[in-house]
């Protein structure tokens, strides 16, 4: 169905929470419920509270806010729910209402409202981060335990900081030409986090797209997709960002708009739920693995990779976009690779946007359970297609003292392309 039609229908349709029949079949799919075992931290309980609020039986109290924001927005519950509850959408609306009534947690608020929407500020922030690391202050602060005493949350957030590949590939060119016979033209959505922190991933993505026979354009006016703001309940901020992005892409001329961050992809595909006039744009959005799996890239994967590789499903790919088989199919096509299926690969790693910063303790408990399963799989490399998850797993590997390389699937694919001088 057309997204626009869905929205119209929603304007007249009864509240979304009525879809929930209170059966509880979603309970054990929910990462927060699995750890806490409390109904108010389950999908069913959260929906129950939303309904109670709407019916005037519950107020937005501290605890109400806490349980809403403790949700990872991972949408595992949507995959489990036989009634087809639109949980993610309901949660975003609920958070929107909360933020109208009460300010979002301070870290989220400042960063999301004042940094993410502005590429230059974000670049500045990450440049400062990099400086901070390079200067050695970081190790001083870490070892002194100063941060630990002052603000434990900040300290943990600090440990999550990625190894920034700032110099390499922060800015992409605006055009890349297809290799060989041209199959079409796509646009590349850089994503703010990817762009400034994960340069090599973006470059690998573009290489693969051109190798598959596509011209790639990278519109300069694009900004952050707005997912983080939206998940935090800052709906107006998110809407503004969506508008800017839609204007930045010449949709009609494109075969697809490619994105390599699962969280951003899910957001771009759901712009129509946020605003009108976004349907055409969103219909073109494809995750990089979703897109590549339908191209001739397979013929180009030549260089063998003799490693045990596992794959972890980012929530916003598997639950948010229903993409499960494509990344596996691509990875398995790499010559020599030993692909290992990890137990519970479809379960959240606890990173979810900036969750690992705002809900650190819970996030760490979820991560611990995940790392135990990864340890059991005895792999050399873990591939996963979302920046937040990559950071989280790198941190997890460090915490558990594991020798584990954490990459985006496109990095492995690009290595297999051969004649590349891009290494990690």
């Amino acid at each position: 169905m057309q997204m626009e039609a869905i929205i119209k229908e929603q304007a007249q349709r009864p509240p979304l929470y009525l879809d929930c029949i209170h059966c509880g079949l979603c309970l054990s799919s929910c990462p927060t419920y699995r750890v806490l075992g409390s109904e108010m931290d389950s999908p069913r309980g959260r929906i129950y509270l939303m309904r109670a609020f709407d019916e005037g039986r519950a107020k937005i109290t501290d605890s109400f806010v806490e349980h809403m924001f403790r949700c990872l927005d991972c949408r595992a519950c949507e995959t489990a729910c036989p009634s087809g509850v639109h949980f993610g959408h309901m949660m975003e609306e609920m958070r929107g209402t909360i933020v109208e009534e009460r300010p979002a947690p301070w870290i989220a608020r400042i960063v999301l409202k004042h940094v993410f929407p502005y590429p230059w500020r974000f670049h500045l922030a990450s440049r400062m981060l990099q400086l901070y690391r390079a200067s050695g202050i970081q190790s001083f602060v870490r070892s002194s335990g100063l941060l630990h005493r002052l603000a434990p949350r900040m300290a943990r957030a600090e440990a999550l900081m990625p190894d920034i590949e700032f110099e390499r590939g922060v800015t992409l060119d605006t055009h890349y030409r297809a290799e060989g016979r041209k199959q079409g033209t796509v646009a590349f959505f850089t994503g703010c986090v990817m762009n400034s922190m994960m340069g090599p991933i973006n470059r690998a993505s573009v290489r693969l797209l051109t190798a598959a026979g596509f011209d790639v354009m990278v519109p300069g006016e694009q900004i952050c997709c707005g997912a983080l703001a939206n998940h935090a309940g800052l709906r107006d901020t998110a809407k503004g960002m969506a508008r800017t992005n839609i204007a930045a892409f010449p949709v009609q001329k494109l075969d697809a708009i490619i994105i390599n961050a699962a969280g951003c992809g899910a957001m771009l595909k759901e712009y129509p739920l946020l605003m009108e006039g976004a349907a055409e744009f969103s219909s073109k959005v494809k995750d990089i693995t979703e897109f590549l799996a339908s191209t001739r890239i397979f013929e180009r994967l030549k260089n063998p990779l003799d490693q045990r590789v596992g794959y972890d499903d980012p929530c916003h790919l598997i639950h948010g976009q229903g993409i499960k088989s494509e990344p596996r199919k691509l990875l398995k096509a790499i010559p020599g690779i030993q692909f290992v299926e990890i137990e519970g690969a479809d379960q959240c790693c606890g990173s979810a946007g900036i969750y690992n910063i705002t809900q650190n303790e819970l996030s760490m408990e979820i991560l611990d359970r995940k790392m135990e399963k990864i340890q059991k799989a005895e792999i050399d490399v873990l591939a996963t297609g979302n920046p937040g998850c990559i950071f989280q797993f790198r941190y997890g590997a460090k915490k558990f003292g594991m020798k584990l390389e954490v990459v985006h699937p496109v990095e492995l694919l690009a290595r297999s392309l051969g004649d590349s001088n891009e290494h990690h």
């Binding site: 029949i21 054990s28 009634s83």
Partner: protein, 494 residues
């Protein structure tokens, strides 16, 4: 709630494991049957048996009612805090303590999810047989309390056939062990009394379950019919032919519509009036013939489409569809109640027709999906709780359905228990003497009536009341317990 009690609870448990916040308590006001609501005063989250016992002793000291709760998927209001008090939530006691491969047993905590036991045992070729449709969420503690069944209980028996031993906190807070993990119970088989006691005899804190080796081979069939009669006749014919299917499930057109629209889309035929999901398992040898015989019986009863799942993937899909069926009803209406009754298999067609008429008369939709093999009916009545008149109709209609089932020689519950929902229907099937006997047994385990009050027995008889008037000796009660063991009156099995 008394501040002193909260203070004392916080000495037994970590502060965050004692919930008193009004908003948080709200989600504990109902279980899988939201038709009935009452907010508890407190919810506590113990992690150890000792903590459970201490909470129970404290509740006794202050005469506060309390009740255990698992995943809250119960469908008869068993986890409803009728008189408020303390909900003892066992979901944090969710560890599988051991799996003994040689003796084929597992020792688990009560909060372990049913399905997780089978998943943990799978590498050893073992599984836990009772498979309620809610198995991906419901807790084994809840299963023990409700003596839960599932599609495969037709061949393998209900929960009670798979529980070897339990550790339990009694209503007064002692910790006791019942049963024998090694096999036959010594002395009175009290495990059998506890299983199915619906959380009113004690709080189960550790469970030793039997594991079974996975069958060598399985065949799953889907047969579609144009009429309910033909479908029902097939059920009777399969059983009459001496075949013991491991499962024999009925789904009607409404159910198919809801399931096929859901994430658990299974490929059920959309034009069928009724369909059967039939499974046989066992040794590879001979299974093909059994399966062919079933196909033959279906055809003879004019099944217009009979399909045998070709691989495990297709089998799994057919089952996920069945298990998601209750939940999928959210697509048809905002609210639903799941009725649970047992009728003689032969009366199936007429009962379904009568329910259909009732549905028209009340103006409320009904879907039917149930364990046809043992006549365990589950009419799902659809409604919208925002309209009070519909809620009232629900009460009328469910009572009519219960009466109808009893009239044709059936009973009140196949697997979901009596709980709060059906306690006033108990008079329909039991005599005064039957009920008094049961209440005396309850008196033994729950002498003060503080544990999960106002359940199972008709409202007019308070349990404490009976305590005042009877002078039954313990020896006599022992005999009654034995009598009860010979037949399980709450759970009629065919």
């Amino acid at each position: 709630m008394n501040k002193e009690v909260i203070g004392k609870l916080r000495r037994i448990l970590p502060s965050a494991a004692v919930v008193e916040d009004e908003t948080e308590l709200l989600v504990y006001e109902c279980d899988g049957l939201p038709l009935f609501k009452n907010r508890p005063d407190l919810v506590v989250f113990p992690r150890t048996t000792e903590q459970v016992a201490q909470v129970v002793r404290l509740a006794n000291e202050y005469r506060i009612p309390f009740l255990p709760r698992g995943a809250g998927t119960g469908l008869s209001g068993g986890a409803l805090a009728v008189e408020g008090g303390i909900v003892i939530e066992l979901q944090r006691m969710n560890r599988i303590l051991s799996i003994d491969i040689e003796n084929r047993i597992a020792v688990v905590q009560p909060g372990v999810v049913n399905l997780h036991i089978s998943q943990a045992a799978a590498p050893y070729g073992l599984y836990y047989a009772p498979d309620p449709s809610s198995q991906m969420s419901c807790s084994i503690g809840g299963n023990v309390a409700e003596n839960s069944g599932g599609p495969h209980c037709l061949k393998y028996g209900m929960t009670t056939n798979h529980i070897l031993a339990i550790e339990m906190v009694t209503a007064r807070g002692e910790i006791i062990r019942l049963g024998n993990p090694a096999g036959e119970p010594i002395g009175l088989d009290l495990v059998g009394v506890i299983v199915g006691s619906e959380g009113t005899f004690g709080i189960v804190t550790e469970i030793t379950v039997r594991l079974l080796p996975k069958p060598q081979a399985v065949k799953t069939l889907l047969a579609a019919f144009h009429s309910v009669e033909e479908c029902s006749q097939t059920v009777s014919d399969v059983i009459a032919a001496g075949i013991v299917p491991s499962a024999l499930e009925f789904v009607d057109a409404k159910t198919i519509e809801a399931v096929e629209a859901s994430v658990y889309k299974a490929g059920y035929p959309l034009d069928a009036v009724a369909a059967l999901l039939i499974e046989v398992d066992g040794f590879r040898e001979g299974l093909e013939e059994t399966s062919n015989a079933i196909v033959e019986i279906c055809r003879r009863n004019r099944a217009y489409d009979v399909r045998v799942a070709k691989d495990d993937e297709e089998r799994a899909k057919l089952w996920l569809g069945r298990k998601g069926a209750f939940g999928a009803m959210g697509r048809l209406a905002p609210d639903m109640i799941t009725m649970d009754a047992v009728i003689p298999r032969t009366r199936l067609p007429e009962v379904l027709v009568a329910i259909d008429r009732m549905s028209e008369r009340y103006g409320l939709g009904v879907a039917n999906v149930f364990h046809a093999g043992d006549g365990n009916l589950h009419p799902l009545i659809l409604f919208d709780s925002r309209y009070q008149d519909q809620v009232e109709k629900i009460f009328g209609m469910s009572e009519e359905i219960m009466k109808l089932c009893v009239d044709v020689g059936g009973s009140l519950s196949g697997e979901h228990g009596i709980g709060y929902e059906k306690k006033d229907f108990m008079d329909l099937v039991f005599t005064e003497a039957d009920l008094n006997t049961m209440m005396r047994v309850k008196q033994v385990f729950n002498p003060d009536g503080l544990l999960n009050p106002a359940k199972i027995f008709p409202s007019r008889r308070g349990c404490t009341e009976i305590g005042k008037h009877t002078t039954t000796s313990t020896a006599e009660i022992g005999k009654k317990v034995e009598a009860i063991l010979l037949g399980s009156p709450q759970k009629v099995q065919h």
